[in-house]
Symmetry: C2
Amino acid sequence: MTAAGFDSTPHSETTESGAQPSAPSIGVFDSGFGGLTVLRSLLERIPSASYTYLGDTARLPYGAKSQATVARYAVSSAKFLVEEQGAEYLVIACNTASALALDEIRASVSVPVLGVVETGANAAQASSRTGDVLVVATAATVESHAYAAACRERGLRALEKACPLLVPLVEEGWIDHPVTREVLSIYLSELMQQTHDAGLMPDTLVLGCTHYPLLRPLIERSVPASLHVIDSAEVTAAQVAEALCAPKDTASAVKPASRFFATDSVSKFRALGSRFLGRPIEGVELVNLGG
Amino acid sequence: MTAAGFDSTPHSETTESGAQPSAPSIGVFDSGFGGLTVLRSLLERIPSASYTYLGDTARLPYGAKSQATVARYAVSSAKFLVEEQGAEYLVIACNTASALALDEIRASVSVPVLGVVETGANAAQASSRTGDVLVVATAATVESHAYAAACRERGLRALEKACPLLVPLVEEGWIDHPVTREVLSIYLSELMQQTHDAGLMPDTLVLGCTHYPLLRPLIERSVPASLHVIDSAEVTAAQVAEALCAPKDTASAVKPASRFFATDSVSKFRALGSRFLGRPIEGVELVNLGG
């Protein structure tokens, strides 16, 4: 497998036996558990692939750390997935790493790399008619203005809003809870006020954090019906499938293979991660990347 | 300065000039900003000391990490403060590190070490008449049962309650906010129910997280008046002062000297840290401890 763009490596060739199309090996990386929502969507959309997921749980969260630190952590994680685990494609399912370190990751490995910021911005471009887009994300992602930059490159105007309490609320398991509804209501009313003040006419809301797909039903009930909500996990899986020319009808035919690595407590990873993956996680392996 | 217990190194000797008592050099360590509430209390109680504060912000939070990882991080931080910065006393102002790694830290440095778990338990012992104590803390501190163990050693029964949302609420700046009051009310009513179910008669509530002193007024208004609230920052400063035989009347005479180190973004440290220290922070220095 040589280095190539996602759009130039169709997996339609047969193996030496001629019996099966080759199964692409996809590495999925996040600082923690949130990226499992992306893996969940990938498993549904491309069940024929084999997956290696790495959660850099010993060094999470990336959100509060500087660009230099995030880049150092993300590059060592990407190298582990490609050089040691043989991933042929890399999905950066971590908004902070995608926002702050995508160039460094691409420069450090020899396989195609796709990050959730660009897949979210691509989906926003396909969705928006008015050209005005809202983005909710963690404080670090918003401070990086990565979504605004990616949207601007695509001719869109983006208003970004930091929602720092949503991740801890999801991790507390308060998914459909009065406090979460209240916090969301405060954040969204602030966002609507800022939208009004800026004179924007948004028709699209990007969930710019991999924890937020778990709040998608609550968020969709809380925003005007005119706003199309983009779930970054779902659109990332769709764009990976498109790049790999993955057939859509293999869902029932193949059982996907997944391996899980974490840089800290594997038992915690199993327990917390299952909520994000939507199914039990077995066999998490511990890996030491330094630090 | 040789290694010695906190209670055996009084600082009443004069310097060669005979003019001033020697100023002890105290290292204060936390994974992030919370320990600044302990430094704030130390600065008020022992203004004659010189302080070196290290926030291991590149690797925070410790709360979600395993014992082995926390010990590795805490030991490297302690060695930095003692071996490179010349601290003669070490205050572990981090509940997770105190709970999980105090023995490893003590074994790795040659100066007296005091951790906030033991100072909190000491204060609970001095406060409680019924022998029943409540502790609120992060999930990791509660899972370690370090407070329960420290209380048991002192003849107390402790009921511990994890309050994972309080740290992010403090960091969001929602100190006296309706959502914080609601979250606190949920946590405290669960705690009171557990107290009732366990047949306890508590008269003392330990704030087992260095973020919680900022919520102390709200917590004191939310619990029965019969509960004495122990602020771990305040009692830690008092016990360090006692161990050092620090005089109580130097507050106005001496301007304390402090140096600040962080393992990640120093600008973020300055901005967020000032809220915890209660005064502006200038001159934060970046240090790389690996990872």
